[in-house]
């Protein structure tokens, strides 16, 4: 059920290479993702398939001078962030998009108190600009309360080293939702936490996104999480989106062999233990295969797959897949 709202973010054929020892590691090989206003989009894929790289390139916070973008554009509300100058990009970062990082302890500056860091974010956000210090402090305390952390005054003066992993992750979320944003990017918010905390984090996230009618990009490598929280899911493999569909549609029918393999690999509560995994491992980005990157591991690989790359084609009711030989539904 792809809703007709205007697309807020369109990533078109994004390619990205990293400068490395022997040449260029071609991580992203034409990523196409679209996110509509208020839509919750999931990105699922194995570790190392370029999920984090993709989202980081949206905000342009990849390390300077170590990567090259040969092709592609990232249209945010029609504007290509890659072409933006630092002032425009600053505006986008301070008011439009916010991001939650995977590793909570690395995302907080160890030598500043939580309060100092959040006040800084508030100061630079659209809502916070005009406000006085006291008002901004109030905004920060509210944000901390929204993520169910008791006694925000005390936490305000704590240093990151004094907080537990879960608390730190919730602070990151508080930071992200403190001001009204149109798009929230969550890069595997729960992975570093144990399940109960993870569940709480996801529920908080979901509730806040609903309340604030924000668009959400949820990156995860667990299908279960994606199923609960997202409207549509993009399955990424080795730098490209191989299948994208509304959540219910995807769980009803998988078309791309990789997605099928992924589904089978999920341990069933009912079934006996781990099903068969997917043979082989992700390709070497330095010397990637010419054609479809899943070809070496694909049971249905044919001559055609080896030679040229399959396009992402819509096969009906919003279900897109990039594969030459799809079994007919």
């Amino acid at each position: 059920m792809s809703n007709e709202k205007t697309p807020i973010l369109e990533i078109k054929n994004l390619k990205l290479w990293f400068k490395v020892y022997k040449g260029y590691s071609k991580v992203l090989d034409g990523v196409n993702i679209t996110v509509h206003q208020g839509e919750k989009v999931g990105i699922v894929g194995e570790a190392g398939c370029g999920k984090t790289t993709t989202v980081k390139s949206i905000l342009g916070i990849l390390p300077e001078g170590q990567y090259v973008i040969p092709e592609g554009e990232i249209l945010y509300k029609g504007e290509d962030t890659l072409k933006m100058n630092s002032r425009q990009l600053g505006k986008v970062r301070s008011g439009e998009i916010s991001m939650i990082y995977q590793e909570p302890s690395a995302a907080l500056n160890p030598v500043f108190t939580i309060g100092q860091q959040m006040m800084e974010v508030a100061k630079n956000s659209d809502q916070g600009k005009g406000k006085t210090k006291a008002e901004r402090r109030e905004m920060v305390l509210n944000a901390i309360r929204d993520v169910f952390i008791p006694d925000p005054e005390r936490i305000f003066d704590y240093y990151p080293v004094q907080l537990s992993g879960g608390m730190k992750q919730r602070i990151c979320i508080a930071m992200a939702i403190m001001t009204q944003r149109d798009l929230m990017i969550a890069d595997e918010p729960g992975t570093a936490l144990d399940v109960t905390i993870q569940d709480q984090v996801h529920k908080t996230l979901d509730r806040l996104v609903e309340e604030r009618d924000m668009a959400l990009i949820m990156i995860t490598h667990s299908l279960g999480v994606a199923r609960e929280l997202t409207d549509s899911i993009n399955v990424m493999y080795a730098g490209t989106v191989v299948e994208a569909a509304p959540t219910a549609e995807l769980f009803r029918k998988q078309l791309h062999p990789y997605t099928i393999g992924l589904m089978e690999a999920v341990p069933r509560l009912a079934g006996g233990g781990i099903q068969a995994g997917i043979y082989g491992s992700i390709p070497d980005y330095l010397y990637p295969p010419k054609g479809c990157r899943f070809a070496p591991r694909c049971p249905r690989a044919t001559e055609q797959c080896l030679e040229n790359k399959p396009e992402l084609v819509d096969v009906g009711n919003g279900h897109k897949v990039a594969c030459f030989n799809i079994e007919e539904v």
């Binding site: 040449g23 260029y24 590691s25 390390p63 100058n85 330095l286």
Partner: protein, 320 residues
């Protein structure tokens, strides 16, 4: 994006050009090839920053000059017992490229000959004081807030607070004044600096996760100190070491002020600098050229030091 668009264009062109004629992938066969491969990778990281290569070249030139000083210098006898007061304090001219000092000896020759003393002093002092200082610093840092830490740090405080000249005077009165004894004097003064630096780094990274987890895995103290904490201290140590080459040479001047160090007429860089200072500013070459020589030596060691630092530490090329 902070990086200007023009810079990104340049990067892009370079990338495309590289991709156009990409070498075929080679599978790594025997062990010998593997070592060659690692060496190539280490050299890539070392030479990634062009300055390190320049540094290496400078250091090699200095070492070779020191070894073959006799042959390559215009007036080898000027480095020994020689005086020619007729043309003392001459400005740099055809005959004497860098001019002559107040005893009429050619400065270029004396500088090249003094490389021997300078390198010997710098290397010997650093080879002794760096490991000692580093080890004590690691020990004190790791055993933070215990009596070991207090004892080591307070002793280093005492050594650091006594001015260099007094220590030199004291050593001068006990030992016979020659190069090795003055090196001993400098070493006594020098190790505390490294203890202090390593202590700083060790204490702060002692609480890092990887150290804590290593402890959980039952790693021995030695492993943690040398395998976990030491690599972190490499970069500040290397920076300090390469800069210290200069300090040690200059310390030689302070020592020879009280009669220690290189005995005349053997030339020493630090001594030439301090003697020449009296003739500023008219006979500027007597002090400026030895200073430049020291700067060049330090620059060489420092560039090379940074290069080695890049090579050893994982540095910023994370996406290996």
């Amino acid at each position: 994006m902070a990086v200007s668009a023009r810079k990104r264009e340049k990067e892009l062109k370079k990338a495309l050009a590289y991709e156009a004629h990409r070498p075929e992938e080679r599978s790594i066969g025997s062990f010998k090839e593997m070592r060659k491969e690692n060496l190539k990778r280490a050299w890539y990281r070392f030479s990634h920053n062009k300055l390190s290569v320049i540094g290496l070249i400078i250091v090699v030139i200095v070492v070779l000059a020191a070894i073959f000083a006799g042959k390559i210098t215009p007036y080898p006898e000027h480095a020994g017992a020689f005086t020619d007061f007729a043309n003392s304090t001459k400005a740099p001219c055809g005959q004497y490229l860098l001019g002559t000092d107040n005893m009429g000896r050619d400065i270029l020759t004396r500088i090249v000959f003094s490389f021997r003393g300078a390198l010997k002093m710098a290397i010997l002092v650093l080879v002794i004081s760096v490991p000692v200082g580093t080890f004590l610093g690691l020990l004190a840092g790791f055993m933070n807030r215990t009596w070991v830490d207090t004892v080591i740090m307070r002793i280093s405080d005492i050594f650091l607070s006594v001015p260099a000249l007094l220590l030199a005077l004291a050593v001068a009165s006990i030992l016979k004044p020659n190069l090795t004894n003055s090196m001993l004097a400098i070493t006594i003064m020098w190790w505390p600096w490294y203890t202090r630096i390593v202590y700083g780094v060790a204490t702060s990274c002692k609480n890092e996760y990887y150290v804590v987890s290593a402890q959980l895995l039952g790693a021995s103290k030695a492993h943690i100190i040398f395998k976990e904490i030491l690599p972190n201290c490499l970069s500040p140590i290397l920076t300090k070491m390469s800069l210290d080459v200069g300090w040690v040479i200059l310390m030689g001047a302070t020592l020879s002020y009280v009669g220690m160090g290189e005995q005349p007429p053997i030339p020493s860089l630090g001594q030439m600098v301090s003697d020449g200072a009296r003739y500023m500013p008219d006979q500027w070459w007597m002090t400026i050229f030895p200073c430049l020589a020291i700067i060049i030596i330090i620059m060489g060691f420092n560039f090379m030091g940074d290069g080695i630092g890049d090579m050893l530490s994982k540095g910023d090329s994370k996406y290996e």
